[in-house]
Symmetry: C2
Subunit: 180 residues, 2 copies
DNA sequence: ACAGCCATGTAACTCGTTACATGATTAC
DNA sequence: GTAATCATGTAACGAGTTACATGGCTGT
């Protein structure tokens, strides 16, 4: 039990459980959609369940079947071992530099194929998408409040907001340079 | 032939060939490492070869075996059909918002597990990595020159440089907020 | 002679996705 | 009653990775 390395996404899910609550797979997915999505990925529902199963196998979380009128739901809680394992991973030096899969930059890179008008269009639509994304993240940040419990998630949300703001400014500048 | 959708990475490789040269798989990989790496991914050598093979099967590139004293190298060139297909993909509205896999943000999000000192450390090391990455991209940008041929790649490289600058500033600000 | 780069691929595997399948509870 | 949401999984597949295998060319 507990042998073998885990993919980062598993640690991310384990991390969601490190805030102390006992969550169902469904709830873990919702938290992932609300927070992890902006800095990591939003794992598919099916992956959440299978990853939680693996974490349980290794004793990093416990699975408890909770009887509720008619329906039984399975709640997961992080174990001491899981917390220790998570801490060890967190303090490990980060080997991977952030990977950006940026379809807009990729398409702009090939602007010579489509011409300046298409490139401007691309950046315009990106600016709209950025606004929408930023609005979503702003709601998440507001939802986190100013309590100490979620101080770090709030910090990271603000990082994301600053990133979107900067990205919007850069995109606007690039668009202007294509205007000529 | 030419049936079926292609993954974005295949279009990215096809895009590298859209600049007109006839390249070997090895050279495509080098271009990918130099440019695509910053905004998309650096595909493994083995993937470059298998993707080029698939593009050839579909008539989007031609493969020509070039005899050279003893050794034969295979050079790929984009076809008219390939260029048309690439153009169609480029003008398609971008459905995917950029995906950021940001291990530093992910670990910072879980700062409550390790404490403020570890979080500061994390951001310090990230700042160093950012500097290194920015220096690499600066070399790429300089190598692209100011010729019209690589105007779009140069534009995107400058986007990347601005992004790294902004990221460094944000990380420094966050670090200061953890100082107290 | 030897190291390092150029060059090309195959095989096994992992991560993560979509599609499929099922059913209970809640709000209107 | 019926639609949306809560809840839990399995199966098939795809994209991309690492490990393995091979060999020529180039500079010292």
């Amino acid at each position: 039990m507990s042998q073998g390395e885990l993919p980062a996404t598993s640690y991310a899910l384990l991390g969601l459980l490190s805030f102390g609550q006992e969550l169902t797979g469904y709830e873990v997915k919702q938290w992932a959609d609300a927070t992890l999505r902006f800095y990591w990925v939003a794992p598919a529902m099916s992956q959440v369940y299978s990853d939680l199963g693996r974490l349980a196998e290794r004793g990093l979380v416990t699975a408890r079947d909770e009887e509720g009128a008619g329906r039984t739901v399975r709640r997961y809680r992080i174990t001491d071992q899981g917390l220790a394992r998570l801490r060890a991973w967190l303090v490990e030096p980060v080997d991977d530099f952030p990977v950006l899969k940026h379809p807009v930059a990729l398409k702009l890179l090939l602007g010579h194929v489509t011409g300046a008008a298409a490139a401007r269009d691309l950046l315009d639509r990106y600016a709209d998408a950025l606004d929408a994304q930023r609005a979503n993240l702003q709601k998440v940040r507001d939802g986190l409040g100013d309590d100490a419990t979620f101080a770090y998630p709030a910090l990271v949300a603000e990082w994301g907001l600053a990133y979107y703001a900067s990205e919007g400014a850069i995109a606007a500048r690039l668009r202007d340079r294509l205007e000529s």
